[in-house]
């Protein structure tokens, strides 16, 4: 089981939860488990081609999955997946 950190802009879609537990052997599966449990998050995270939207950064613990194996990056029990969109508020 991994912990997914939900950014403020997606919390409405997770019923206000800042963290969601999700099962999966890799980052893609964990995020799919999240979208299965909270379907409104899907359109924000994934494009029509099934890839992550370019404007969404995803980290496994403290590392950007773009420099790991992307959605195929293996996830272990207790890992944290951070979803991070850019923010512009000043």
């Amino acid at each position: 089981m991994a912990t997914v950190r939900i950014p403020p802009v997606l919390r409405q879609q997770t019923g206000g939860q800042p963290e969601v537990e999700a099962e999966g052997g890799n980052v893609g599966e964990v995020l799919r488990a999240l979208t299965a449990a909270h379907p409104d998050t899907e359109a924000q995270l994934f494009g029509e081609d099934g890839d992550l939207n370019r404007y969404v950064n995803v980290y496994l613990n403290d590392e950007d999955v773009r420099v790991l194996d992307g959605l195929d990056t293996a996830v272990s029990d207790g890992d944290t997946v951070v979803i991070l969109p850019a923010m512009a508020g000043g």
Binding site: V9, Y55, D62, D64, V67, G90
Partner: protein
């Protein structure tokens, strides 16, 4: 034999005599004043031994009791008393300089002065100069630094206040907005009386009241592709507290071209992010965020709300980054993104890598010719997409 309870007269010498003597070897020159006086100005090779520490420290400063030992203070009184003490301690050849360093300077003799700072500045910044990481040299760097703040709003307000208090010599403020009542929940540099005034001039009033050393430069305008290079060129460090994506991407691209470091933070509701982008040394904003999010994923503080204190937390973190960059100390947030979540009071650090494919600072980006320097894509359209 002279009775031992009669004090031996202390020899007093004139500054010009002292000047001749201390040119020779084997003369110990002792400054019997307080540290702050010494720091302001002292004689070359003068060793500081404050009056209260004379008995404890003289042995180290002047180990040879038979050697010529000349003492001075500000006007000659404290050094005279100290000379009496030294004679009582067994020093055999002691003299006090009459008139002290004041008389010395009146005669045009040279001193080692803490250059560049006035007595008022030495007092004002004393808590900085006490820090080995800052010191007088570091404070002079701060006083010489030119920092541009993008936005005199939520993030800009606390950043500007602390940078002004720290003695950043020139603070440029870019903002084309006026103070609104709804700003005052977080924009602590403005106040109720100044509602309706331009934010840049309101901020100037507060900064100048806080620290007259700061030269405030108002840029009461909106940043665009046509003015950005000219605007940021004179500054050493840029602080990004902009409230919109077009400005953030434009600033990034221009700052990479001019190789200006940018301290970038953003806030929304209870969340904040901060990183420091030093072109070609670490990643840039586009390495972190290749494309801006669509509007529904990028609400503004005015639409979504923001806890006022978030501006203070993230703004003061920005000020800290700026000061480290100016001083060249510590570890700035280069290649690191710090997230702060205020409801859980939790800080998270993420790694940010340079993207070899980055269209702005990547490996394959061609040199930008001088004629193209000021040309940027249409950011409004780019970010509206």
């Amino acid at each position: 034999m002279a009775p031992t309870d009669v004090k031996q007269q202390v020899e007093e010498i004139e500054p010009f005599e002292a000047a001749q003597e201390i040119e020779g070897d084997d003369v110990a020159l002792i400054d019997t004043r307080e540290p702050h006086e010494y720091q302001e100005a002292h004689l070359e090779n003068g060793k500081l031994v404050p009056p209260g520490l004379l008995a404890d420290e003289i042995g180290e400063a002047a180990p040879d009791k038979s050697a010529r030992t000349i003492l001075y203070c500000r006007s000659g009184n404290r050094s005279y008393k100290a000379a009496e003490q030294l004679q009582a301690l067994g020093y055999e050849d002691v003299a006090s300089m009459a008139g002290g360093i004041l008389a010395w300077q009146e005669q045009g003799l040279p001193v080692v002065a803490a250059s560049g700072m006035t007595p008022e500045q030495r007092d004002r910044y004393s808590r900085h100069t006490l820090l080995p990481e800052v010191g007088v040299d570091g404070q002079l760097k701060l006083l010489d630094a030119k920092v541009l703040l993008l936005g005199a709003g939520g993030l800009g307000a606390p950043t500007a206040l602390y940078l002004a208090a720290a003695g950043i010599g020139t603070l440029g403020l870019v903002d084309d907005d006026v103070v609104d009542a709804s700003n005052l929940q977080r924009q602590v540099i403005h106040n109720t009386e100044r509602i309706g005034e331009p934010k840049t001039s309101s901020a100037r009033v507060t900064i100048e009241a806080l620290n007259p050393d700061v030269n405030v430069v108002e840029h009461n305008l909106r940043l665009d592709a046509g003015n950005i290079l000219e605007l940021i060129e004179p500054y050493d460090v840029i602080v990004d507290g902009a409230d919109n994506f077009p400005t953030r991407y434009l600033l990034n691209d221009a700052s990479v071209r001019l190789r200006k470091p940018v301290v970038s933070a953003s806030i929304l509701s209870f969340d904040g992010q901060i990183s420091t982008f030093v072109p070609f040394e670490g990643p840039c904003y586009r390495c972190l965020y290749p494309t801006p999010p669509p509007a529904e994923l990028a609400p503004s503080c005015s639409a979504n709300g923001v806890l006022g204190v978030m501006a203070g937390t993230m703004g003061t973190l920005q000020a800290n980054e700026v000061i480290k960059l100016v001083l060249g100390v510590g570890e700035p947030l280069i290649g690191r993104l710090l997230l702060y979540e205020a409801l859980g009071t939790r800080f998270t650090e993420l790694k940010v890598r340079r993207d070899p494919e980055c269209p702005i600072c990547g490996e394959n980006v061609p040199e930008v010719p001088e004629s193209e320097m000021g040309k940027f894509p249409d950011y409004e359209a780019f970010c509206a997409g």
